[in-house]
Each structure stands twice: as structure tokens, then as C-alpha cells.
């Protein structure tokens, strides 16, 4: 079997992982918080995409223009109401708060939408084309990968060219100095969480046409997002992007050449190895020790 097949499907799947990882990494960089509700925020995006599709008949990829602002506002409010109260608390309390918020979100979804998985079937949900003869490329995955790239570029431009984006980076690099520049760091935290949420929801919406939608569907992405963050260096947006693709490829390669059931173990072993030998991540500059 062609070596290219797992490589290409790994890269494409990795794109969605990357988006989830970037959102988490951004939140981490600016706020120094590990967000355990990230998977549930992805779930939010999945449902938004689903309802936009079934009720408003908007294509899930197009519905992003609605989902991104809604999710941003949701995250912004969540930070204002809950997260900023624990920003100076110990890590474990922050983690448990986000765990609790995640439980509230997923179980509210369970009440509201029942536990029946929803399937979002678009005309292209299972279409694919062949590349180089025998390498099949999934159309929806390719589309979502391209959108991921687009969003990453937009985010990159936002962070490097706009004043708010630069203020976010400044806050993440040195919170105190940022304050001295007249940056309202509390607001930056809320914005960062809003963007993190928007990115998580986008990842959810992008995966919705090829995945299923369920109140607990985000959970399988949570630990992956953490792995990606650490791999890329907590706080590094570019690192998380590359980290996501690495994880996607590692998963596909280990399923192909080793075994499907051990691939998660391999991912965690890589995760631990990175923590041990390069705790700042493959691309990060902040030390972990």
C-alpha cells in the first residue's frame, strides 16, 4: 500500500487537530490556563454547524461566518463571568473549574439535544478523488484543511498586523510590560478566550460533515489538543499548527504500519518524550522546567 495514503490523510486530519490545538495554545499563552472545557467548546461548534445546516440550510463551511462570532462572544462572556475569577488561583483549581464548566456544557447539550448522535450529511460528505493513481483524498477533509489554512493565515495576520493582535501577543510575552503600554490585560484575556473558543468551535464545525455530532463528541479531542499544544510549545500558535499535523500523521502512520489500537499509546509516548527531552516543545521558547 502506498506510503502516501496515510501521509496525506494524516496531514488533512491533522489540520483539524491543529485548529483545536491553536485555540488552546492561544488561551494558554495569554492566560496561562489549561482549558479542560476545550473539547466541549468544539462540541458547541458542531451543534451550531448542525443547526445552521438543518434549520437555516446553510452549508457547514459557510456557516462559519455565523459560528465564529457567536462562539467568540460565548467565550468572551465565559471568561468574564467565570475564568477571570481564577486567573490568579493555583493551576489545579483552574483545571477543575474548566472541568466543571465542561460538565455543565456537555450535560446541558445532553438535555437539550438528547444523546442521539446527529449526522450532518452534505452532498460531499463521503466524496473523494484520486491523486497519483491510488491515493484517495477526501473532499470534505481537503476543504476543511484549506479552511484551516485560511483561518490560520488570518489569525497570523491578525496577531502580527493588528493592534489588538499585537496587544495579545504582548500580553502573552510579558503581562506586566503589556500593562505599562496601556494594554488592558483583563480585556486581552477575555479576547484570547473568545478567540480560543471561536477556534475550537470552528474546528468542531469543520469536522462536523465528516464526523458525528454528540454532546460528548468533543472529549476525544481534548487530550489530543493538549498533546498538540505541548508538542508545539505551550503558547506557540505556529507550533500548535505544526503539532496538529504531526499528530495527524503519526496517528495515520502508526495505524498503517503498527496497529490501530496502539496508535493513541504512541501519541502519548511521543507526548511524554517531548515533555522530558524538550519541555519547551518543538517550537516553543518558554522553558517547562
Amino acid at each position: 500500500m502506498s506510503f502516501l495514503q496515510p501521509l496525506i490523510s494524516g496531514i488533512l486530519t491533522g489540520g483539524v487537530y491543529a485548529l483545536a490545538g491553536i485555540g488552546m495554545s492561544l488561551v494558554f499563552g495569554v492566560m496561562n490556563i489549561s482549558n479542560f472545557a476545550h473539547g466541549d467548546l468544539m462540541m458547541l461548534g458542531m451543534y451550531l454547524a448542525f443547526f445552521a445546516f438543518t434549520l437555516l440550510h446553510i452549508d457547514p463551511y459557510i456557516s462559519l461566518v455565523l459560528i465564529i462570532p457567536i462562539a467568540f462572544l460565548f467565550g468572551y462572556m465565559m471568561e468574564k463571568v467565570f475564568i477571570n475569577r481564577v486567573i490568579h488561583h493555583p493551576h489545579q483549581n483552574q483545571i477543575l473549574l474548566t472541568v466543571g464548566l465542561g460538565l455543565i456544557m456537555s450535560n446541558t447539550a445532553l438535555l437539550a439535544f438528547t444523546s442521539d448522535p446527529k449526522i450532518l450529511t452534505t452532498t460531499y460528505s463521503s466524496s473523494a478523488f484520486n491523486l497519483l493513481g491510488d491515493v484517495s483524498v477526501s473532499v470534505p477533509l481537503l476543504l476543511s484543511f484549506l479552511i484551516t489554512c485560511l483561518i490560520t493565515v488570518i489569525l497570523y495576520l491578525f496577531l502580527s498586523k493588528t493592534s489588538t493582535g499585537m496587544a495579545l501577543r504582548a500580553t502573552s510575552q510579558n503581562r506586566e510590560a503589556a500593562q505599562l503600554m496601556g494594554i488592558n490585560v483583563a480585556k486581552m484575556s477575555a479576547i484570547a478566550f473568545g478567540i480560543g473558543t471561536a477556534l475550537a468551535a470552528t474546528a468542531g464545525a469543520l469536522i462536523a460533515p465528516t464526523y458525528y455530532i454528540h454532546p460528548l463528541a468533543g472529549h476525544s479531542f481534548l487530550l489530543k489538543a493538549f498533546t498538540i499544544c505541548v508538542l508545539g510549545g505551550l503558547g506557540s500558535v505556529v507550533g500548535a499548527g505544526v503539532g496538529g499535523i504531526i499528530i495527524g500523521v503519526v496517528e495515520a502512520m502508526s495505524s498503517t504500519y503498527l496497529s490501530s489500537d496502539w496508535k493513541d499509546v504512541i501519541v502519548f509516548v511521543i507526548f511524554l518524550a517531548v515533555l522530558l527531552f524538550r519541555p519547551q516543545g518543538l517550537f516553543g521558547k518558554k522553558g517547562g522546567q
Binding site: 481564577v86 489545579q92 473549574l97 460538565l103 493538549f226
Partner: protein, 331 residues
């Protein structure tokens, strides 16, 4: 003196409780869960509360105890106590490996690494054949001396004993060199190491004690419930529940985890069994056939994890130091 009387009173109540409600396996079952969670959380507290190392992977040691015991029992039918001891050995090995990885890290990295190690353990158990894999392990009858292991009473006292031992170890530790060293590490690692404390030795010591006790509890649980699979004994949820119990009671205090378990375990069971909804209906406050009654009966049953989440959030926001933190005066 007052303290001794207090402990004696608690011990007397705990020992005589099954005699008072001996008729009810349901309540004893809940009490077993309660004692187990109190003991798990106390064992975690030695590492998390005193040494300040917030492990998010304690399910691995619980699972190590449960799996080792049940595997050895089904394969070789050894004495259950021997199996338990082997469980401690396995848990200790896992703890040493974990320690060598995670104790090099601080902060977020420590927490994430402890999750990753526990996940590796969980997935390995799920993938191996000899562990029963996804099918889990079902245990037939167990024989230990002439105890009736179908009854819950031996397990009640077993859990009580482990809890007592855990609390005794904690009480002894915190007034001993090791205990002070652990607290010094929690407060300031640099200061601790400049005072001659071998940080990694003492962290590993705390982890080993904590893991061994957790493993014994896992073994007891396995023998008690007689069916284990990875989602019951190795899940991340279990690790989180252990920490939550300690935090809600009061981290780094002797009785905090016990208080946490006294609050959370009955609450979880009341929510699960729709106690509050039934109470309102049975008290005649709400009619069973009314809209509210239907909602309470049907939907509240779905909502108990939601309520649990809300309580978690409220506790972290308003009781960050736990219930005992409320009463602890600043010296």
C-alpha cells in the same frame, strides 16, 4: 486529649454503623463508596496536599491494584491478600516510572504528564489480552478465610481499615521529618533544596506511599464489585473525582478529604437516584402528574451530572480552599 476523644468517637461510630443499619446493603454500599472515596482522596492528599504535587493520574494506581488482584485471582487463585500485595508492587513500579518522568516537570506540565502516563496505562490494559482488554475481568466467588465475601460487611471494614491506616499515616507523616519535608517542597522547592532536602527522593517517597494505598483500595474495590474494566477503574474521571473530593474538603489537611467525601458521595448518589425530585413528589409538594412533577421525574434524572458540574464550579469559585479552609484560622 480532646483530639483523642474526637477520634475515638468517630472510630466508635464508624465501627458500629453497620450494626445499626446492618439490614440495608444499599446504605452499606453507599458507605463503602464513601469510605473508598475518602481513603482515595486521603491517599492522594499525601502527594497532592502535603507535597503539593497535583497528580491527575491516580486512577492508574487504583487500576493497577484492581487489575493485578483480579488477574492473579482468576489465573492462579492465590490468596486475595497476596494478590493485593502484588497489586502494591505493580502500582509501585508504575509509580516509580511515573515519578521519574513527571517529577522533572512543574506546573501545567506536571499535571498534563500525569494524565498522559495514566492514559498510557489505561490504553495498554485495554489493548492487552491478558488484562481482559475491553471485556474486563469478571470474578467468580472469592474465598478468604471464612469471611462471607458476598456480604458487604467485610468490605465495609476493609475500606474503613484502609481509610484509618491512610489517615494514621498522614497524621504521623505530617508531624515527622518526611511530612515537614513534603510541606517544605510544596511551599518552595528552592528553599527546600537549600535546606538539604533531596526533592526528588521525597516526592517519589510521597508518590509511592500514595500509590500503594491507592492500589490497595483498587484491589478492595475489585474484590468487592467483582467486575472491572478500564472505564470503571482506570478512567480520567476517577482521577478528577479524587482531586475534586480533596479540594472541596480542603487540600493539605488531615480531615479535608474525609469531609469532601462526606459531602460529595452522598450528594452524587442523591442526585443519581433522583432523591430530591422524589422527595418533593412524595412530600406532596409537587404532583407526580403535573408538568413540574414529570420534569422532576424524567429530566432531573438526566440532569444529575449537570448539577454535579454546577456544584463543582460553585465550589471552585466560592470555596477555593475547601470546606475546612473556611474554618481554618490564620495562625
Amino acid at each position: 486529649m480532646k483530639q483523642i476523644a474526637f477520634i475515638a468517637a468517630i472510630a466508635a461510630i464508624a465501627i458500629s454503623l453497620p450494626l445499626v443499619i446492618g439490614e440495608s446493603p444499599y446504605f452499606i454500599g453507599i458507605l463503602i463508596s464513601l469510605l473508598m472515596m475518602a481513603a482515595l482522596s486521603s491517599a492522594w492528599n499525601i502527594l497532592g496536599g502535603y507535597a503539593g504535587q497535583y497528580s491527575f493520574g491516580h486512577a492508574a494506581y487504583f487500576g493497577a491494584g484492581a487489575y493485578t488482584t483480579l488477574i492473579l485471582l482468576t489465573l492462579y487463585n492465590l490468596n486475595p491478600l497476596l494478590c493485593m500485595a502484588m497489586g502494591v508492587v505493580v502500582a509501585s513500579i508504575i509509580a516509580l516510572i511515573t515519578g521519574s518522568i513527571v517529577f522533572r516537570l512543574r506546573g501545567h506540565y506536571f499535571g498534563l504528564a500525569s494524565i498522559a502516563v495514566a492514559e498510557v496505562v489505561r490504553l495498554s490494559v485495554l489493548n492487552f489480552e491478558f488484562t481482559g482488554g475491553a471485556q474486563g475481568i469478571l470474578l467468580s466467588d472469592v474465598v478468604l478465610w471464612d469471611l462471607d465475601l458476598n456480604s458487604k460487611i467485610p468490605f465495609y471494614y476493609g475500606m474503613l481499615l484502609v481509610l484509618a491506616v491512610t489517615l494514621a499515616i498522614t497524621a504521623y507523616l505530617r508531624k515527622s521529618k518526611t511530612g515537614y519535608y513534603l510541606q517544605a517542597i510544596r511551599e518552595d522547592q528552592d528553599a527546600a533544596s537549600s535546606l538539604g532536602i533531596n526533592i526528588s527522593f521525597y516526592k517519589n517517597k510521597a508518590l509511592l506511599i500514595s500509590a500503594a494505598l491507592t492500589s490497595v483500595l483498587g484491589s478492595l474495590y475489585g474484590l468487592y464489585i467483582r467486575f472491572i474494566d478500564t472505564s470503571a477503574v482506570l478512567d480520567l474521571r476517577l482521577s478528577i473525582e479524587i482531586i475534586l473530593t480533596a479540594i472541596i474538603g480542603g487540600v493539605g489537611t488531615l480531615w479535608g478529604p474525609v469531609v469532601g467525601a462526606l459531602l460529595l458521595v452522598p450528594l452524587a448518589e442523591m442526585l443519581r437516584s433522583n432523591f430530591f425530585g422524589d422527595m418533593l413528589i412524595n412530600a406532596g409538594l409537587v404532583s407526580e402528574t403535573s408538568g413540574v412533577g414529570m420534569f422532576l421525574k424524567d429530566n432531573l434524572a438526566h440532569a444529575h451530572v449537570l448539577v454535579y458540574g454546577i456544584i463543582t464550579v460553585l465550589c471552585i469559585l466560592y470555596l477555593p480552599k475547601g470546606v475546612l479552609g473556611l474554618f481554618r484560622r490564620k495562625k
